[in-house]
Point group: C2
Chain length 436, copies 2
Amino acid sequence: MRAVEIIAKKRDGLPLTPEEIAFFVQGYARGDIPDYQAAAWLMAVYLRGMTEEEIIALTMAMVHSGEVIDLSALGAPVVDKHSTGGVGDKTTLVVAPLVAAVGLPVAKMSGRGLGFSGGTLDKLESIPGMRVSLSLEEFLETVRRTGIVVASQTAHLVPADGKLYALRDVTATVESIPLIASSVMSKKIAGGASAIVLDVKVGRGAFMADLASARELARLMMRIGQGVGRRVVAVLSDMNQPLGLAVGNALEVAEAIETLRGGGPHDLREHCLAVASEMAVLGGAANDVPEARQALEQALASGAALERFRAWIAGQGGDPRVADDPTLLPQAPYRLVVPAPREGYLAALDAQEIGLTAVMLGAGRARKEDAIDPRVGIALMHKMGEDIPRGEPLAVIHAADEASAQMAAQRVLAACQWAEAPVQAPPLIYDILRGV
Amino acid sequence: MRAVEIIAKKRDGLPLTPEEIAFFVQGYARGDIPDYQAAAWLMAVYLRGMTEEEIIALTMAMVHSGEVIDLSALGAPVVDKHSTGGVGDKTTLVVAPLVAAVGLPVAKMSGRGLGFSGGTLDKLESIPGMRVSLSLEEFLETVRRTGIVVASQTAHLVPADGKLYALRDVTATVESIPLIASSVMSKKIAGGASAIVLDVKVGRGAFMADLASARELARLMMRIGQGVGRRVVAVLSDMNQPLGLAVGNALEVAEAIETLRGGGPHDLREHCLAVASEMAVLGGAANDVPEARQALEQALASGAALERFRAWIAGQGGDPRVADDPTLLPQAPYRLVVPAPREGYLAALDAQEIGLTAVMLGAGRARKEDAIDPRVGIALMHKMGEDIPRGEPLAVIHAADEASAQMAAQRVLAACQWAEAPVQAPPLIYDILRGV
């Protein structure tokens, strides 16, 4: 087999065999196939597409490019969740202790933020002392001890994906459904999940701007998972406006804690309960969604979920007192209230623009090597559809200094659209796919 | 301007501006843009194509990636020729002294063989003493002194093309009409040609297997040339069977000399006269093709062309006595006559298979770094359409040893097809395009 012949075959629109895909992907991960051949192949895949069989073969070739984690010793099936990325998406922070409280182990590898999307690891690191870079031994020991661990992906897990992703980023081949689907699913499969809940975001602040493409991506990832014996459910949820009200690392942790205490924004609570219910059913902690939901609501009301959160944070070296005193989280030195410039119904609250404003404040990364300021962000006061009087606080900017706060305030106002007549807010969840 | 945005634009099928093309191609030639980005871009160009405006911009961006040779001091327009490559194609060896004999200067940069196609430089180097690697100063001084020079392309001429070609070879992006056309034309334009005769080969032993694609490539190259003020004529000629009878470096030089002496295979003589006539008209040495042809036939008959050949060879350090004694050329130690296995009309003599057989004997390169054996090759005795008695010599194999000669004999036989009834040989020239 020769790399150039595999490139030519894909270039001509012919399907590759599983052997050809494994030869190419694993050869690239090992360094036997150079970047320039992988780049030509990625562009051919981008433009010619792949069959479902090819995508499954690609996923498994990536899985076998590195180590595969065996979580069977935990004694219960591990249900993973994956969000395609959004603004204000702190779902994992709430859902991990919530499903742990109904008896499911959580052993999750997560990512950092890039561009306008935040990352769970960055959020967790705003908790004093919290460690997210664990060795595989620490990872397994932590989940055995506390029932929950969320850490960064080890270098040995799906090395082909890390290498291919970096190359896609500089060769204009990121936005390819076969490449996205295989990248996500290979990490979930190698991470040892028995079942997976996919949280596929749709809208202005999501990779998939329309419901049809989101559904296509979701169905493809479900078929990949099912093709290799994993049960997969996909939640198609809105990302036209941010999820919840807080955008920024420490602010989002505080909002997640509020939600675990039984409060928090309605949309965030509902979204977390929906995702956690699917996880509970897949993991066998409940027979059906209504039963799961009842148990999860009980775990919130009783404080059991919050207790699991404390144990989780402590288990990874973090200060568990943040669960009771959010002022222990890093605080921004400068705050600026943004008043509503007019009376009206909030008709749009552009998630991407809010996300980019948070990046500008220092909450995210424009480039991989940028540092994060955990203190800064935007605390929204309202959501789409609400009728807001003129002068009413619309958001509070948490900033490192006055200049960046002023700029952020202007951008938040620019992200809003107003209507005279009542407007319908987008639904929180468009659909839940439980089988394909 | 960012390389990744230019890749994305081409990926999406949008035309690039001349500035974007120049940024990309010259950035790549300088080493500012890495191989992997160029590879993704080449695949996007291969699959999305380019408009005529883009191809002209690409050609000129490649021309300006290096030095441009100024031949205006020679006092006469320099008419270059380019063959798209074939088997037994020793046309340049005949045509260069032929047009010089009617008053045109010849200052030509040529290439080496790769795969089943031979290269003029390899053929010339079979002449004892002949030097084809000249500095630009030697190149110009030689043409001024003797009226003819044929040498390898200097490293400073179209460096972007050399670098892109090497990358195309390993990324399955060679067979792209925009990339081929701009590669050929950039070298001709940078080489200082005022006018160009393109010899576009069609058939089994050519890059273009059918007349329609060959015509498309020819027209595109003509439009590129005309777009930048060069007059271009394209000869569409047959390459289903080898040109002439000799295939292999020293054998082809001997056949070219025979042709310059007024003999040689009929098809080779006719082909060389057709190409040279177009060159003579473009260069102003004749008013029209019939007048050119008469002058060129006269140059063959009078010995003027052969005299020019001697001066050319001597001018580049070669032994001019080969023009009178071909036994001074390297001789293969082993010869094997291949008799016709049956009586019949020769219905096919697969040029590609004959070319590959010559490579196997050592006359060509499977890889760039392979060495050439100038002595070996195949001397055919017959052409397509001829009625051949059983046992009649079909070819003589010139080999380094008996084993390779025996293998070659088998392959030559396999390259032949036979018919009971008379068959029509393919025409030598399909068309001559003088304007688009």
